[in-house]
């Protein structure tokens, strides 16, 4: 297990470096926005990764509700946490891209607002997990995860209509418009790299959660067998 992990980690690192080169150097410079547009190669893959992780969280939460398997729960919390991390990256790189291009840090446009709402939903999920005192936290959390993900289409629909009613900065649609194949290639490379990276981090978080689950179970068993170890003989 350990060796596989190291090999995969090295592969991922290699992929990330290659993708970085492709995005930063090899891909051609965009005409209208200039060099800043290269943020796109980090911003978009992060968004897609975050969304995929939340999708997995949804599926795994349903599995948990059906089977009550601890592994499902461990995967649920892992994908949610790593998803929030990637979502944070999107919310930070977005304004850093917007500022030089449109002159403003933040704009309540459809995509950025939807991402912010996604972030809020899953942060609230994580907070519920942390503050719950119930013994059945995983069940409650799984239910909230279902609600949260079902909300996503509404978030996107509502924001799209709302924002098209107000003047907003136009996304110079990535270089997909008038697609230079080298740009698409750089984008795909970065997506693959970040997917691999996300998988790695989720795996780490998953192992941590499983270890903690096992430990807590051991502690519980111990206290059943030896109710009070402190009593003097």
């Amino acid at each position: 297990m350990r060796r596989t992990f190291v090999i995969l980690a090295l592969l991922t690192f290699g992929l990330l470096t290659y993708a970085l080169y492709e995005g930063l150097v090899a891909a051609p410079t965009e005409q209208t926005m200039g060099e800043v547009q290269r943020i796109f190669y980090y911003h978009v893959p992060s968004a897609i990764t975050a969304f995929t992780l939340f999708l997995i969280n949804f599926a795994v939460s349903i599995v948990y509700l059906a089977r009550r398997s601890p592994r499902a729960d461990a995967l649920a919390v892992s994908t949610a946490e790593v998803g929030v991390v990637f979502c944070t990256v999107v919310l930070v790189t977005g304004p850093l891209w917007a500022r030089p291009v449109w002159g403003i840090w933040w704009t309540w446009d459809a995509r950025l607002t939807s991402t912010l709402l996604l972030w809020l939903i899953y942060v609230s999920y994580l907070i519920l997990r942390r503050y719950s005192t119930s013994g059945q936290t995983p069940v409650i959390a799984a239910v909230l995860a279902v609600f949260g993900f079902l909300d996503v289409p509404f978030v996107y629909l509502a924001n799209r209509l709302f924002r098209t009613q107000h003047p907003q900065p136009v996304y110079f649609g990535g270089p997909g418009s008038g697609a230079d194949p080298r740009m698409t290639y750089a984008l795909l490379m970065n997506m693959a790299a970040f997917f691999a990276f996300a998988a790695l981090v989720v795996w780490l978080r998953f192992r941590l959660e499983r270890a903690r689950q096992d430990f807590e179970e051991t502690q519980a068993l111990e206290s059943l067998i030896q109710p009070d170890v402190r009593s003097p003989r």
Binding site: V36, I39, V89, V92, L208, F215, V229
Partner: protein
């Protein structure tokens, strides 16, 4: 452009911060397990 480097740097700062948090949690769990085994 400064913003470009800031964005790339911020991305990795965020990821590395999370990985650091994870490693700290791993360490704490290991310490707790050692404490427990001593008893």
């Amino acid at each position: 452009m400064k913003f470009l480097y800031a964005a790339y740097a911020a991305t990795w700062v965020i990821h590395i911060t999370y990985l650091t948090v994870l490693s700290r949690r791993f360490r704490r769990l290991r310490d707790e397990m050692q404490e427990f085994r001593k008893k």
